[in-house]
Symmetry: D2
Subunit: 258 residues, 4 copies
Amino acid sequence: ENNFFLIAGPCVVESEELLMEVADKVSGICKNLGIPYIFKASYRKANRTSGSSFTGLGDEVAMQLLKKTGDKYKLPVTSDIHAHEEAAIAAQYIDVLQIPAFLCRQTDLLEAAAQTGKIVNVKKGQFLSGPSMKFAAEKIRNAGNDKVILTDRGNTFGYQDLIVDYRNIPWMKEHGAPVVMDCTHSLQQPNQTSGVTGGNPQLIGTIAKAAIATGADGLFIETHPNPAVAKSDGANMLKLDQLEPLLQQLVKLRKAVV
Amino acid sequence: ENNFFLIAGPCVVESEELLMEVADKVSGICKNLGIPYIFKASYRKANRTSGSSFTGLGDEVAMQLLKKTGDKYKLPVTSDIHAHEEAAIAAQYIDVLQIPAFLCRQTDLLEAAAQTGKIVNVKKGQFLSGPSMKFAAEKIRNAGNDKVILTDRGNTFGYQDLIVDYRNIPWMKEHGAPVVMDCTHSLQQPNQTSGVTGGNPQLIGTIAKAAIATGADGLFIETHPNPAVAKSDGANMLKLDQLEPLLQQLVKLRKAVV
Amino acid sequence: ENNFFLIAGPCVVESEELLMEVADKVSGICKNLGIPYIFKASYRKANRTSGSSFTGLGDEVAMQLLKKTGDKYKLPVTSDIHAHEEAAIAAQYIDVLQIPAFLCRQTDLLEAAAQTGKIVNVKKGQFLSGPSMKFAAEKIRNAGNDKVILTDRGNTFGYQDLIVDYRNIPWMKEHGAPVVMDCTHSLQQPNQTSGVTGGNPQLIGTIAKAAIATGADGLFIETHPNPAVAKSDGANMLKLDQLEPLLQQLVKLRKAVV
Amino acid sequence: ENNFFLIAGPCVVESEELLMEVADKVSGICKNLGIPYIFKASYRKANRTSGSSFTGLGDEVAMQLLKKTGDKYKLPVTSDIHAHEEAAIAAQYIDVLQIPAFLCRQTDLLEAAAQTGKIVNVKKGQFLSGPSMKFAAEKIRNAGNDKVILTDRGNTFGYQDLIVDYRNIPWMKEHGAPVVMDCTHSLQQPNQTSGVTGGNPQLIGTIAKAAIATGADGLFIETHPNPAVAKSDGANMLKLDQLEPLLQQLVKLRKAVV
């Protein structure tokens, strides 16, 4: 029970088969390792760099698949929402509403998410400091909901790189909310001339280990059976069969920390 | 006619009196100097750092005041919009729809703005490169609207500072749209522990001169008769009575450039 | 023997008493914890921000004190050198020659240090990437010395902050040299208007834990019985009596990693 | 006499022929345009990324060629020095001693340069703010020499890019010294895996224009008849035959500023 929790799944809802395959595999691993698991997939990608990239199967269809997956494997599910009017709809299907990093300052969105009563997981903008996330947490709490999670996904470091500042973990823990490290998007290489964000998936373990060592309460890892054919973020997702050995190492590390 | 154009006004619609005072003063200055002028004020501040900051008079009221101001002084008016459903409403009152920097990757918002047929001015995210703004322009053009403006407002430089990269002016001009320098928000000092963004208004002239020298087509300058009592961005606005001497210098500089 | 090693001591040679006190205390702790220990103090501070800051007792005097300390406690000692002609002199007293971060690209200095046959510990410039440290290691090896250590001390992040990029640990390990995390200078707050660099010593543990978790071979920690009265870097040094509990935690963490 | 001054020449002393060709051409252009001209070439490159890059013809030979060039064309000459003992030697041949950016905090070097009585041009480190250059100027003045020039050459922006912060021009002018923009090295792309720094010479005009517009007193531009075959910094030097049209534009701009 002193373990970290895991938010994991494929970047986007591509198909029912994909969701079930990942949920089945990851929930089994997490059960063995005593890791509380929240299944993650986006029902829509609303801020792709390029307008021609895949954005989803349709919101309702994708949300229903998320719910079906959660029901079958008895898992809470999470997805990101992008506009205040989506909050109430998504809350019918989803247990943890995630606020995308670019939108972490949109007061309407935070308040609408808060008002659903669901857990709200706010990603720290790439342009924000950990201490500034205090104001995001306050917006949610002032809307009557104290179930807040704060997630770090790295900071802008020049145009084509992100860097993780681990000082943000203790700094954000001061805000009284669980702190998660997003080990996937922290490794993005944005602003590529191709319009497709690059990545560095071989460093997921490095990002995750430092997070556990510095006190992160949870980890966020996108995973896919075959990232090379994934419809979004293929450059950053962990290959599904590499998840278990990584989590084993991290559980061992966690025990040395707490 | 070879002059730069100006987007200027108070940060937020505080009152009818304020809008009229600023429009009267600035339109007079611009007429004398041959500067095409677009009146700017936000009808709502949707992403204040702190939930307790002023956000506006109410959208409809504020939009009507904007329109009234434009009508009286025969000026096009501009304001930022924050959600796709606001686009069509705002388009009834406003001539240039501005997309906030944090939202410049939100495809739905860009497309909804484009579909109004109005001019769309996209601010470059603090986390984005000038070359990447190609994709923002394409999203608007692919939605059937080629009236795009691209605005730079600086880049994240550590947590509490922004920096302007003037290479972005020629880089963004390659996207075939007029390029504007936002001389106000480029000087913000974000992530202050107070929850109130700081500024450096004495450097507005520096930011503006470098922009004109490097080929910017327009300038964005927030101005207020008394920034110390302004309800938003007081730390960065130019005092209204300092605008004319600055514009005189800039017009002289512009003539040496083109 | 699978433990990390420690480079620690006061920032600068202030007096014989200080060196002996620190060496006595730290060597005792390290013996208990099985941590190989290298005693560190600078004989001169050559790049203080302000010309009026303390720079040392005189090179020869300070080097002799370093040697005396090492001899008494049977510890290798290290200090930084700043010019190629210092290398051979320092090598008479010192076991590990440290190259300051600002000077890590000075070919003459690296080669002169290499030619002493001593271990050469190169600090990564705040402006350099881990992969680029390959060239520093090569300059030393090409001068006939393969006893290279590479140390990270953070990267420039805006003007007044540094950030540690833990990706540099695996990246620098690829260069075939032990990698050290400097937990003191990584927390500097440079470019203060006072001319005195600031710090964040309460985060030393965070920096150190992430380093061990991601595979660092050694840690560098400046420590002083009373940082508030130290003659250099007082803002960043760990209070001597806080070192033991920190090292205990880190040893526990290390066992979970290797 | 209100014009800016120019520091220009090839990056490194490659041969007498090269120096004479560049000095002849540039001095003619500058005479026509009323630009005070200081001839620049390095007698040694002391901090090449890779140990296998060209570093010079030998210090004495190269210094003599510099002096010969200055004498022939009646130009002051400048070069960078790298160690305190070089200062007095270089001062026999060279009129303006330049302190490299990486070394701008080395107190010994600044003081030795100051003590020659020559003009000392300190480059701002990529990791330093303009306000912090106050301390560099003070070190020189406190050594009895008030002939200080301060040069900006950009700031670290991620690993592989530099960015110029034009706020540094007014900030450094407050230190009471002429301020120069280095239009060549500001465009470097460091930390390339090849070990050879890249560049963006097509943006030299952008960097220079913004500098003149914001009040720079001088410009530094490396130029070579054929940058593609240059032995150092080929990726950033301006082709010699492009210098005259650029300077013509800049002189026009300057007149609109002062």
